[in-house]
Symmetry: D2
Subunit: 332 residues, 4 copies
């Protein structure tokens, strides 16, 4: 059986997902819907799919088994609910919703229909991050005690992005909140966050911070630190470090080359990948393969809507802590 | 303009090249020829190409601008000559010929027709190796003095392979002889080789060595060492180190993940890639892109038939040194 | 001129300092005082010094220019005050006092006498940490934005230690608070700390935590994270990472050997140094050399009593945050 | 029992050995002899030893149990023979003799007197190199197949040194020939060497090479490559790599600090140690401790005169290969 897929959204993430679906032997990319017809056509031609501007019809079409939602964030919940009502398997880009409560209601609709929903927390599929998770699950580092997550963008997003982004915690650190939950294997119950505006005054003018440090605590006492910045001039800095009772597991940055040049001044190593399409290339392919497999075999999603809602609530708590200057309790 | 390509050979290398051609926006994979019709069909279907067992017709077809020769080694020179005579641009897998003199005669035919010929020394396109070459070319390490190449396969080839391979130097170290010439930017004039049969007695029984160390010397006195083994249990070990008057440039192994697990016993890092399709994935894609670009624009090949013949002569000299126990002079 | 030094305390730190003084060409170790006469004699014989149990007489002796205080923590302030009153140059082990206010009063006595006082924050003299500080001071990473300090002991201190230690923040993280101030080049104004009892229940029974994460914030918005654990089975884990507007500077763990063993399972690297006398060997020697130089030349101490008091106040604030569950403001 | 030691030679190596003996609790540095009386006095004062210009009397003195010979190379054999005749335990700096046959005769004298003789191949005591040897001896990498040694000086020795040095192989690579024998655990039976004059024309004018690559072969077929240069602008480059049937063991360069500065251009690591006193500090201390222990307990030397003679014969063979252009057989 081949899974017939409709893709909604032909932007940056849609382009990545289209290629993954096209390469997968178990899936067929049936249609690509985008409000911008030219953008839809351009992408559809490269993959032998139909282009359309009729998103709703594309989603509910009988020719389609599964829907990949990669449109703008504000459309996610409604398209997911539509696809769920039409009985489709659904992959939705993150965040499911900027408003966690709206996301939770969407989840109720999905669950009521028994629909498969996988959310695009792609980092869980990164080979290096998976290796750390495997080391934990195999007991190689014992019981998890501390987690340190470093997550830094190479540079500020384009002007205008910050204003509608939902803020650093809900837009950017949301991935890290998910990674934290995944590695801790336990829900955080308390959050405290410090944030600053150091990279560019425009971010502060938009009411957001561009630099932040957050602490999480779980019921058993495991602790997690996340540091975020909108600036890392050397590239996309994505690292994790987990300390357990028997040792430490780390995943370092990935580089496009392994060149080392040693001169009288220093040993010069290649810089990390510059940005996420390169850094997480394998992860994007693997998350789509996991979705296609789950949708085909009726097995559960590896990253659920509940994961999205819970990461969202951690982001809400971090934002509240930033604003009130106090630690904030979150329901486990 | 789109370059119309015929692929000859649907085996391991043909499969890799087919995918690279299909992904490239400037090329179209027209046909795939293989003596084994089913193998041809299986690969052709995945890429929307025609399958055929009529190799000669596929090569000379008017619908074709360029030919990629990835069939068995003993067929290379004749197919390259046929394609040259038909006026096609040609990409040939390495080695062009096990017999360097036969390769040189093939080259005469190609040159007489003014055909473009690129040979599959893929390592020149590896991002890490290119980084080392760039460091040399930019003068960052000064004048090249010493080159050390480490080239080790993870395990023995399947039974029967060694007998018809042409021997370790012509079959396996041929890549390293090319890399040496490329990095030295100067022709070696003397070769000495030591070889042993340490990995498996079957290799010795087939009249070959499985472990070797070679030295090269150029006219200006630059020296190069190559070490080869048919066994490296930790993966495909492909490293280069170049010493110049101002410093050193190295390219290390590449790994599929950057996991580090630290316990009370040791710091455990991820192993290198296991084998060449993973290790040189970017290189295979880049060499085909370079060929498509050269064939489309009429620019020269980056790796020529002469490169193939000269690397072959170094392999001949190493084999002679191994057999006679003496250094062997090679024409520059 | 040779500096004549009296050492008080022949325990673990006294033994290290005695060797540094003996090796230094500009200093002479005159006497070693310890309540335990045998311990004093054993150490004094190795270095050709006089042994005594009369601490006060040793400190005030006219034959002595400088005093190194390495006795038990509860004696530091009184001995420092005595030495200051006697007009000696003083090196005191950290902490100056567990009670920051008592330390501040001691400092008043020292300052009133115009005595030189250097405090044993040895990490400021570690070549790797100094390299990070130099990178900051030279502007190589721009303006400092984030600091992450990892500071983990290999194992729990012996039974009974925790009870009188002053607690994780005042006893152990005190070094990190000093390092944070040194790297930030700016006073923290707010502290929040999460702590847990994960390593051993005996620590909790003694009213302390063995695992902690702390955040600091400065007036300009620079942020710092410190993570501490009384357990790191792989050795003494002492790392710093500083992010600035133009890049990142890190100091990693140091290892006694650079052995890498690569097998079919993994790449195995040597573990870090096991404990502080090895890890900070150069630092201990360098801090004593700096003290000898300052005392000889009348130049200021590189680590002052004020540094000790301010680090102590950060530790107090962290302890208060741990107890109240709230961020705590500290005077800059 | 304390071992009473006479040191002959107060130059660079004598200074290092004097400090090691003085620090060792089981030895006492009785006297330091040097033709240059001031040099002897200067060193002797720092360690509370007697200074003398009467070398022979110092060696044969009844107050002395052991002699450390660190005078100029041309005096080694005669002083070793004198000390052996006087019944002393002997440590001799390398090389025992530039002329291997003269060294062998000296060995006969030593053996006839049953004297303990340890030769200063300090690298066998380096913690990183010992770690590689241990990995071999413990069977972690299986049977040794290939050894690659990198041994490069930071810069040319001072003018005039080369002329009397004995040449690159006997003066410099002699350490590597010893390391090769030690790691191979088997005698080489054939040597081939390529050499060039690339660093400075003055070396060629003195009849020597400054750059060399050597291959060794043992009876069982294990192979070894050594590369040497009188120039490595980034520091003292001392690395070993051993390939066995089950894996690889490496010892990398050692650095004085672990600083990593990452900017928009590259990741910059600390350079290796600049020169041998720093790089091999632990090794010098450990070899003297081993000698003191062997001399005290009557146990065998870990590095014998025979080791010195055999390494010398490999150097002779390499020199002959360089001059004749042919591989040279050596008696196993």
């Amino acid at each position: 059986m081949v899974l017939n897929v409709a893709l909604v959204g032909a932007g940056r993430m849609g382009t990545i997902h289209a290629a993954s679906i096209a390469r997968h032997p178990g899936a067929r990319l049936v249609s690509i819907a985008d409000r911008d017809g030219e953008r839809a056509s351009g992408l559809a031609e490269r993959h032998g799919a139909e282009a359309t501007t009729e998103t709703e019809a594309a989603i509910t079409s009988d020719a389609v088994d599964a829907v990949v939602v990669a449109s703008s964030t504000d459309t996610h919940v409604e398209l997911v609910e539509l696809a769920a009502s039409a009985g489709k398997a659904i992959f939705s880009e993150k965040p499911l919703a900027l408003d966690s409560e709206r996301g939770a209601r969407c989840l109720e609709v999905v669950d009521a229909r028994g629909a498969l929903l996988q959310v695009g927390f792609n980092r869980r599929f990164d080979p290096s991050f998976r290796g750390v998770k495997a080391a934990i699950d195999e007991g190689r580092i014992g019981k998890v005690e501390l987690v340190v997550l470093t997550s830094r963008d190479p540079e500020l997003p384009p002007p205008g992005y910050i204003e509608t982004s939902g803020g650093l915690f809900r837009d950017f650190a949301i991935h890290d909140f998910d990674t934290a939950r995944w590695l801790l294997s336990e829900e955080p119950i308390e959050v405290v966050a410090f944030g600053s505006n150091l990279v560019d005054p425009s971010v502060g003018a938009a009411g957001d911070v561009d630099t932040a440090m957050t602490l999480l605590r779980t019921a058993s006492g495991a602790l997690c630190h996340i540091n975020n910045s909108r600036r890392a001039v050397y590239g996309y800095d994505q690292r994790i470090e987990v300390h357990g009772s028997l040792g430490m597991a780390q995943a370092g940055d990935r580089t496009p080359a392994s060149v080392v040049v040693t001169t009288g001044e220093a040993i010069h190593h290649s810089l990390p990948h510059r940005w996420f399409p390169q850094r997480y290339a394998e992860a994007y392919e693997a998350e789509m393969a996991a979705f296609i497999e789950a949708a085909t075999n009726g097995t559960p999603a590896l990253v659920t809507g509940l994961d999205a809602v819970r990461a969202g609530r951690l982001a809400d708590a971090a934002q509240e802590s930033l604003e009130t200057g106090r630690p904030v309790a979150v329901g486990g």
